[in-house]
Every structure is written in structure tokens, then in C-alpha cells.
């Protein structure tokens, strides 16, 4: 039998380095998730097929029947489509985490000397990058079907920024759902009934005025409506400060509630 020949050593991490390490770990996980996006580009394609179909349907089929005072319907529609795309795309965060739990990858991560927050931060960061691609694609689709920005490029950029913030906030909600279900299909299934009412009972496709009164009240105060209204203000004109501040407050609130919940769920996930 062998006796001690290996230097039995105990590495000790210093405090100073732990923030740098957390940032580096987050970058590593982001890199890995983005590689995945490159390896399985179908995921990106599938997640844009549905919104593209919606653009075609609402632009050319229902659009003629929907009257929005003072604005061409295609210009009214596209901010709604952006929000819809980003909202449904954020399910990806939960599905991805559930997959990583299932394959035992997260189990391995938990045995590594890495920052506890990095797996979630790296996942949501990669999903922001993913959203940049998705939103750019949807803006292009919009231009093709006749969407025009009435303000200026800065307005459009600010609108894109808001969409990314919106997606980032929702990602934390779905991170929690993905970790809690620990199963990609369940995460997907749990997400739809949550998102569908938010997206469809909003100002995304039709003006709130066309809805029954009780629904108008609900729809007016939920995050999708507020986001869509802020984006419309930025690209179509009108007062921007109030809707943008409201939207940012919603996003910060969602992150403040769901990020700690997701991180604590991650710590306990077995």
C-alpha cells in the first residue's frame, strides 16, 4: 500500500480576488452558453418563427380590421411584437437551466471552486446576447413589412435597450421556474400559461380601449403593456419619461425579487 507521497495541500482563496473570480466565472459560463447557441442555431430560428408568423398574420390578415387612431397599424404593431418575442424568448433561460440540471452539469459546477452566482449570471447574460440577435432580427423583419421609426436612431437604440432589460428581468423569473421544475418540458409548460395572458391581455396587438372595462384596468398596469407603451413612445414619439421610468421600475422590481429567489433556489437545488 502506498503512503503519503502526494503533497497534501490546502489552497486558500483571498477575499480580494473573489469578485474578480466571480466575474471571470460568469464570463466562462456566458462563453459556454453562447457556444451552445452557435452549435444549435435551430434554437434561435425556432424562437423567431412564431413572432415572424405573428407579424405576417397581424400585418396582412387581422391588421386591416384593427383601427388605431393616429398611427399606421404596422408601426403600432411592431413594438408589441418585440415585447412578445423577448417575453417568450426568456423561457429559454429556464429551459436551459433545467437541461443543465438534468445532465448533471450543474452538479459538477457545484463541486468546482467557482462563484455560486456565476451559473445563473452567465445564463442570463448569454440570454441577453441572444436577445440582441433576436431583437435585431425582428427589427429587420419590421422594416421589411413597412415599419418605420418616427423619432430617430437614438430612440430606436433606447427602445432596444429597454427590450433587453425587459428580457433580462423575465429571465430571472424563468430561472427560478427552471430550477424549481428541474425538467425542460415542465419549465416550458409552466411558462406558457404565465406569459400568454400577460402578452395577449396587453396593448401589444390592440389598443386597450377595445377591451372590456375590467380587463382594461388589469391590462393597463401589467409589465408587458408598460414596456410596449414605453417602446412605442421611444420609436413613435410622445412623452417618454413617464413610461420609461415605469418600465425600468418594473424591471428592477422583478430582478430584485426573482434574482435572490433564483440564487437561493440554485444553492439548494439537488
Amino acid at each position: 500500500m502506498t503512503t503519503t507521497t502526494f503533497p497534501a495541500t490546502v489552497p486558500v482563496t483571498t477575499e480580494r480576488s473573489s469578485l474578480v473570480k466571480a466575474a471571470s466565472d460568469t464570463m466562462a459560463i456566458t462563453w459556454r452558453n453562447l457556444l451552445m447557441l452557435r452549435r444549435v442555431p435551430q434554437l434561435l430560428v425556432f424562437s423567431t418563427i412564431q413572432p415572424v408568423l405573428f407579424v405576417l398574420m397581424f400585418r396582412y390578415v387581422f391588421g386591416g380590421a384593427i383601427r388605431v387612431p393616429g398611427v399606421r397599424y404596422v408601426d403600432y404593431l411592431m413594438p408589441g411584437i418585440f415585447a412578445q418575442t423577448v417575453a417568450f424568448g426568456s423561457i429559454n433561460t429556464g429551459v436551459g437551466l433545467a437541461q443543465d440540471l438534468g445532465t448533471g452539469l450543474i452538479e459538477r459546477f457545484r463541486s468546482l471552486p467557482m462563484a455560486r452566482s456565476a451559473v445563473l449570471a452567465g445564463r442570463t447574460a448569454a440570454d441577453v446576447v441572444r436577445n440582441v440577435l433576436v431583437v435585431a432580427l425582428m427589427v429587420s423583419v419590421g422594416f421589411i413589412v413597412g415599419f418605420r421609426v418616427h423619432t430617430n436612431a437614438a430612440g430606436l437604440l433606447a427602445a432596444v435597450g429597454l427590450m433587453l432589460l425587459f428580457g433580462f428581468a423575465l429571465s430571472w423569473v424563468f430561472a427560478l421556474i427552471g430550477l424549481a421544475t428541474a425538467n425542460p418540458e415542465s419549465a416550458q409548460a409552466a411558462a406558457f400559461p404565465l406569459l400568454a395572458p400577460l402578452v395577449f391581455a396587453s396593448s401589444a396587438f390592440v389598443p386597450l380601449k377595445s377591451m372590456p372595462g375590467w380587463l382594461q384596468v388589469l391590462a393597463a398596469h401589467q409589465p408587458v403593456t408598460i414596456t410596449v407603451d414605453a417602446v412605442r413612445a421611444l420609436v413613435l414619439g410622445g412623452p417618454t419619461l413617464r413610461p420609461v421610468v415605469q418600465m425600468v421600475a418594473w424591471a428592477v422590481g422583478l430582478i430584485a425579487v426573482f434574482a435572490p429567489l433564483a440564487v437561493s433556489r440554485y444553492r439548494r437545488a439537488a
Partner: protein
């Protein structure tokens, strides 16, 4: 990451009265282990014995309900981060990223364990070479065979040169060729002085690789010792005599008792644990012939985990032969299958 190294004397792994429950299931019911640095320790037991739970606690993935676990003198519950820096883990299922190539999997592990980029790359290439993965290194791991995945998983666990390595059922599910390859790799690592804790359902594997073995059952250590010590309690060879009917079997059992512990199995066969197989076989055949007990079959074989169990606990290990997944394993397998299906 800045690290400095404090020396540690004493056992590399120490476990005292470790307990863990999952709801009403008692997974660990007071486990004690002590593994000297530079040695190989085998946890041998059937499905559901508590092997994986023990490994998950030692690798800081799971918190125990009671007891203590230390790696290199560090308490896994109190100083998990320092413990993680000194351990490598290859779990029961190869946890490699299917969408990444072998090289990328190794790069990710080097990055996350805080290795300088250049030395991590060199270490990665060295491991690829050593684990015979260089030719496949640029292919995504999803295209690998079971044996290649297991080798990559082991390579990933070694990127940061951990002094203590945990291998949870490293060869379960591999064909004999793949198992032999992995055994050789593990023996090389051990020769370099690593401390290794491995779990297995195969007596042969524990026998070949481990300096000391603990047999676990229902979350307890039921026997511990070197392989020769355990076998001495067991007899090193099993002779299996099939007889015509239960009455003949009962007579034969009494006759064969002097050769070693004898049991009736399946009503009409007698199994005897003997020390010197060839000599005992000859004597047994002669004796039966003299007593006019005509055996229908006579077989001679090495003891299995099942035999260890029968001797130690008086019952059979449920998963005889070992590879049948329990319900817990099946749940994971299903999720993994679903994941692949979705990709």
C-alpha cells in the same frame, strides 16, 4: 485567483457518523470512513446503498443532516470553497457538455477552476493525449461513445491537478474493453500519489483498484478491510453444485459444510465458499461420488458483490450483477434522454 498552500497531516478524507435523509428515506445511517493520503479507498455496495450520497456530501454538493466530513482537514460544510479547490469529481453520470468539444469542455473546467489560460491549455492537451482523446478533441462530446465520455469526464475532473479525486461508479455501463482502459488510467493516476475515493458495485473493480474497501448497505458500513481481508472472511472461490432435488441438496449441504460456508440456493443447488478452489473442487467431486450424490452441474467462480452480501448480511444484493438502475437513476436517465431528444 491567489492561492497559498497550507500543509495537512492526517487522513486525506475523514467521515464521522455521517447521516442524511431524503424525506422518509434514510440514505446515510451513520457512515465512518478514514482514507490516508495517497491511498485508494473503495466504497462497495449495491444500488441505493448510499454511495453517491456520501460522495455528494464529500464534494460539498449536499449538506449532511448530522456527523462530520473533512477533506484534507477542512470541514466540507464550513469551508466548502477551500474543499472544492482541492478535489476533483467524476460523478456517476458523465457530466460533460454535449454541445462542446472535448477541448472546450477542458477549457471551461480550467477557466472555472481559476487556472492561468496558457497552463490550462497545456494541461488540457496533455490530458487529451493521455486519455486517448486527441483525435476526437475537436468533435462535440454528444458524438462520443460511453467510454470516451467517461474518459473526458475524468480528464475534466483532473484539469486543476486536485490532490483528492472522487470517482462515483467510474465504469458502470461500460463494456469490458472500456472498463479495462479506464482501470489502467486510474492505476496511473494512483501511481502518481493521488488520494482516490471510488465507489463501485463490482467486487472485481474494488479488488483491483482499492487499497482498502468499505462494504456499504442501507447507509451503513457493514465491513471494512483490504481486499484479502474481506475475501478471507468470504472464501476466495465459490463452487456451485447443482443437484437433482431439494432432498439431495440438503444432504450435499451438510457434506460440503467442512469445506467452507455452504448455502442452498434456488432449492436444488449448493454454493460453497472455499479458499483453494482447485483442490476443493477435486475433493468435493470425490466426496459426492463416494456418497452416491450425482451432481447435475458443477461450476467454479470468483465471488461477486452478491456473495459478499450474502455472507455479510445474510441476503442478496438486489442488483445482482450490478448494473440495473434504481428508481432514482431511472429518473435521471429519463431526464437525460429527454434532453437529448429536445436538442
Amino acid at each position: 485567483m491567489t492561492t497559498n498552500h497550507a500543509p495537512h497531516d492526517g487522513p486525506a478524507i475523514e467521515v464521522e457518523s455521517l447521516t442524511k435523509r431524503f424525506g422518509s428515506v434514510v440514505a446515510l445511517d451513520g457512515i465512518d470512513l478514514s482514507v490516508p493520503a495517497g491511498t485508494v479507498f473503495g466504497l462497495l455496495g449495491p444500488n441505493g446503498a448510499g454511495k453517491t450520497t456520501t460522495v455528494r456530501i464529500l464534494t460539498t454538493i449536499l449538506q449532511p443532516d448530522g456527523g462530520h466530513a473533512r477533506v484534507l482537514g477542512l470541514d466540507v460544510g464550513r469551508e466548502p470553497h477551500a474543499v472544492r479547490a482541492s478535489l476533483g469529481l467524476a460523478g456517476q453520470y458523465a457530466a460533460v457538455d454535449e454541445h462542446l468539444t472535448a477541448r472546450e469542455n477542458l477549457k471551461l473546467a480550467g477557466w472555472l477552476t481559476g487556472q492561468p489560460r496558457a497552463s490550462a491549455r497545456a494541461r488540457g492537451e496533455e490530458l487529451l493525449e493521455r486519455f486517448d482523446l486527441t483525435a476526437a478533441a475537436g468533435r462535440v462530446a454528444g458524438t462520443y461513445s460511453g467510454g470516451m465520455r467517461k474518459r473526458l469526464d475524468l480528464a475534466v475532473a483532473l484539469v486543476h491537478r486536485p490532490p483528492v479525486l472522487f470517482l462515483d461508479e467510474p465504469t458502470t455501463g461500460l463494456d469490458p474493453q472500456g472498463r479495462g482502459d479506464l482501470w489502467e488510467l486510474i492505476e496511473e493516476l494512483v501511481a502518481e500519489g493521488m488520494t482516490l475515493l471510488l465507489t463501485t458495485q463490482y467486487l472485481e473493480e474494488a479488488d483491483r483498484l482499492a487499497d482498502r474497501i468499505a462494504v456499504v448497505d442501507n447507509g451503513r458500513v457493514v465491513a471494512e478491510g483490504t481486499a484479502p481481508e474481506l475475501k478471507a472472511r468470504l472464501g476466495s472461490t465459490i463452487i456451485d453444485v447443482g443437484l437433482a432435488d431439494p432432498a439431495a441438496a440438503a444432504r450435499a449441504r451438510v457434506l460440503l459444510e467442512p469445506f467452507g460456508p455452504a448455502e442452498i440456493v434456488d432449492g436444488t443447488a449448493v454454493e460453497v465458499n472455499v479458499d483453494d478452489g482447485a483442490r476443493a473442487l477435486l475433493q468435493i467431486v470425490r466426496l459426492l461420488d463416494r456418497e452416491r450424490l450425482e451432481p447435475e452441474t458443477v461450476a467454479i467462480r470468483e465471488p461477486t458483490l452478491d456473495d459478499v452480501f450474502l455472507t455479510l448480511t445474510g441476503r442478496r444484493a438486489e442488483a445482482s450483477g450490478g448494473a440495473a438502475p434504481d428508481t432514482n437513476d431511472r429518473g435521471r436517465a429519463r431526464r437525460r434522454g429527454a434532453q437529448r431528444g429536445a436538442a
